[in-house]
């Protein structure tokens, strides 16, 4: 990891503009990072409320609170909002805040585009949410938007497609900006192999985004033309192929999973060395493992659709290719554990979330390996086991990494230490409730409960009730997270520049809170 030769003091002209205009027209990477993070937090709660509607309905068999159509709309909107509105923007927010400071750049390479890529999001998100109030209801065909079911959506359909286009456009602009910044604006001496792991993982993520977003755009455009312009891309009656959509969607969708988890790997690779007070074990192998995971993500998409009737050779290829991902992922887990090995570890809240990430993400990885076994997947497919698997990856993986990142860098952002006692309360409440929420879903899936149904057979009742209790506990725990952030923004013990005793990297050489402009003069990196 890099070290700076100079400590940078606050610059002149460091007062940010005041008022609403600051946020509307800002081109400052820190402001835009803050906007992204606030947006994603709001969306986390919107998507979370939808999850609670789902879990409340599943409290017991039969129809309780919502009709099945609305239930399906909730599962669909929950997925879309959490993926495109909460997790992705949170990581883009972290990238905005941290990448320029980590590489010694004064700002993102394309600051005006940065403003645009954020401000598209609230409009796209609002458009997506507005479909809840439209004739025919919100989209209810699942976040994967499989035809022909999705083509039965009512007036909401074109709004769904347009909002997905806008969300994709925002992601593309963010990715272009990140690539341009990392490649062109590193401080002198900051070679690629000296970059912090978070920067590396984002560079690779940006490549993935650039590569797969046109595929999503093409897929949803074909849905639009099939519905309104008489084409038959996915209509068998017109010579099209509905399975083709699944291939196209998952060619986007699987790398998308890595788009949401690679920056999390980067965050964890920053935090564990800090609190283990040791350099990251195997830096180079971490970089190569990240690149390998990104490459493999392009050749495993069909493991999401083993049951569509693929040739045996196809099933075998996608099965083995998927299992291969365990190798670079295993390298990462090994390196994190090796970094902690015989380290002078302390367990502040970011480290607690990071350790929980390593353990719980690995559980998600192992259930992923189970799903990769094609003959076994015929049993697990579209069951609650899949729901448990990807929530272990995306909640105890991606979301826990975001929590860890917020606690880790919050003192740098606000200039105040957060309340450690409340942070630990948030951690323990979250880590217990999240397991109560998702672990029973493994049992439900293995016992045969399908996903995306408002009703279920009576033998699934107990574990569903346990899961629902976990869901409400987890949801309520997040109110504590908001309180901790609010309290930290308002005040608290003053944070030093380095904040954490073991923290290394350029962002820890600037004062806390980070001045409005940092590294206007490029630092020299040894």
């Amino acid at each position: 990891m890099s070290t700076a030769t100079t400590t940078h003091e606050a610059h002149h002209h460091d007062e940010p503009p005041r008022g609403l205009k600051r946020w509307l027209f800002t081109t400052n990477h820190k402001d835009i990072g803050t906007l992204y993070l606030i947006f994603s937090l709001v969306m986390l709660f919107v998507g979370g409320i939808m999850a609670l509607v789902i879990r409340a309905e599943l409290w017991e068999p039969g129809i309780q609170y919502v009709d099945p159509q609305f239930f399906n709309a909730m599962t669909t909107m929950h997925g879309l909002i959490m993926v495109f509105g909460a997790i992705m923007p949170a990581f883009v927010g972290l990238a905005n805040w941290l990448i320029p400071m980590m590489i010694g750049a004064p700002d993102m390479a394309l600051p005006r585009m940065n403003n645009w890529s954020f401000w598209i999001l609230p409009f796209a998100g609002a458009m997506l949410l507005s479909t809840l109030f439209m004739e025919g209801g919100a989209p209810a065909a699942g976040w994967t938007m499989y035809p022909p079911l999705v083509l039965q959506t009512g007036e909401a359909f074109p709004f769904l497609i347009f909002s997905v286009h806008l969300l994709g456009l925002s992601s593309i602009m963010g990715a272009i900006n990140i690539i341009a910044t990392i490649l062109n604006m590193r401080a002198p001496g900051m070679t690629l192999m000296k970059m912090p792991l978070f920067v590396w993982t984002w560079l690779i993520t940006a490549y993935l985004l650039i590569a797969v977003m046109p595929v999503l755009a093409g897929a949803v455009t074909m849905l639009l033309t099939d519905k309104y312009f008489g084409t038959s891309f996915f209509d068998a009656a017109g010579g099209g192929d509905p399975v083709m959509f699944q291939h196209i969607f998952w060619f986007f969708g699987h790398p998308e999973v890595y788009i949401m988890i690679l920056p999390a790997f980067g965050v964890i690779s920053q935090i564990i060395p800090t609190f283990a007070r040791k350099p990251l074990f195997g830096y180079s192998s971490m970089v190569y493992a990240t690149a390998s995971i990104a490459f493999l993500s392009f050749i495993v998409w069909a493991h999401h659709m083993f049951t569509v009737g693929m040739p045996l050779a196809g099933e075998l290829f996608f099965m083995y290719a998927t299992m291969l991902i365990a190798v670079p992922t295993g390298v990462k887990v090994f390196n994190w554990v090796a970094t902690m090995w015989r380290g002078a570890m302390t367990f502040e809240t970011p480290m607690l979330f990071a350790v929980a990430f390593v353990i719980l993400f690995t559980i998600g990885g192992f259930s992923g390996l189970m799903l990769a076994i094609a003959p076994a997947d015929f049993q697990y497919h579209d069951s609650y086991f899949v729901v448990a698997h990807f929530h272990y990856v995306l909640v105890t993986g991606a979301l826990f990494a975001i929590f860890a990142a917020v606690y880790y860098w919050l003192p740098k952002w606000t200039g105040h230490m957060y309340d450690e006692r409340l942070g630990k309360w948030h951690f323990w409440l979250s880590v217990i409730s999240v397991n109560v929420l998702y672990f029973p879903q493994h049992f439900l899936g293995l016992a045969g409960m399908p996903r995306r149904y408002a009703d279920y057979a009576i033998q699934f009742t107990e574990w569903n009730q346990v899961s629902t209790i976990g869901a409400f506990a987890f949801g309520l725990s997040q109110l504590l997270f908001v309180y901790v952030i609010w309290k930290c923004v308002r005040g608290g013990q003053k944070a030093t520049a380095q904040v954490w005793e073991g923290a290394k990297g350029l962002e820890w050489t600037v004062p806390s809170p980070a001045p409005y402009h940092t590294f206007a003069e490029a630092p020299e990196v040894k």
């Binding site: 002149h12 394309l110 490649l183 062109n184 590193r186 401080a187 590569a211 046109p214 003069e521």
Partner: protein
Amino acid sequence: MIIEDSDPSGRRRFVIRPNRSLSWRGNLTVIMVLGVLMGTVAAGFAWRGAWPVLPFAGLELAALAAGLYWVARRLSYREVVTIGPEEVVVEQGRRRPQRRSVFPRAWVRVMLERPSHGLHPARLALRCHGRAIEIGALLTDEERERLAARLRAAIAAPGPRAPDHLHPTGGDRAT
């Protein structure tokens, strides 16, 4: 950033340029690698009938190329101030000098205008006989102040001087 060195003939030279960590050729390589990747993916889908992926891939690649070109162009700007025995030469441009100004060393003045308002940046210029050229606009105020001091020192350093009858103030050339 400011790089101070000497040209092949031993004249002091100040190169003022933005920090830049990748050449345009490097950026082109990035665009080509991603172009090949996206082209292969889009062509594959087009071959299977999903041709609408192609135009989106093309648009996105164009946006990426435009973004990288814009950044590389902005970062390729250079100002080179060369202090010779008789003259001070300022060359400005991208990739090659697009504007060249020559001032007699004996008469050139380094002008640093501090702003009247704290939010505005200071401005640094070389001025002579009513003609001025701004330099270091891309620097921070601290860097501009440092550059001004170093330029004054370099210009005032011992070296060939203008004839006394052309030098009414007795040598106070830099302010």
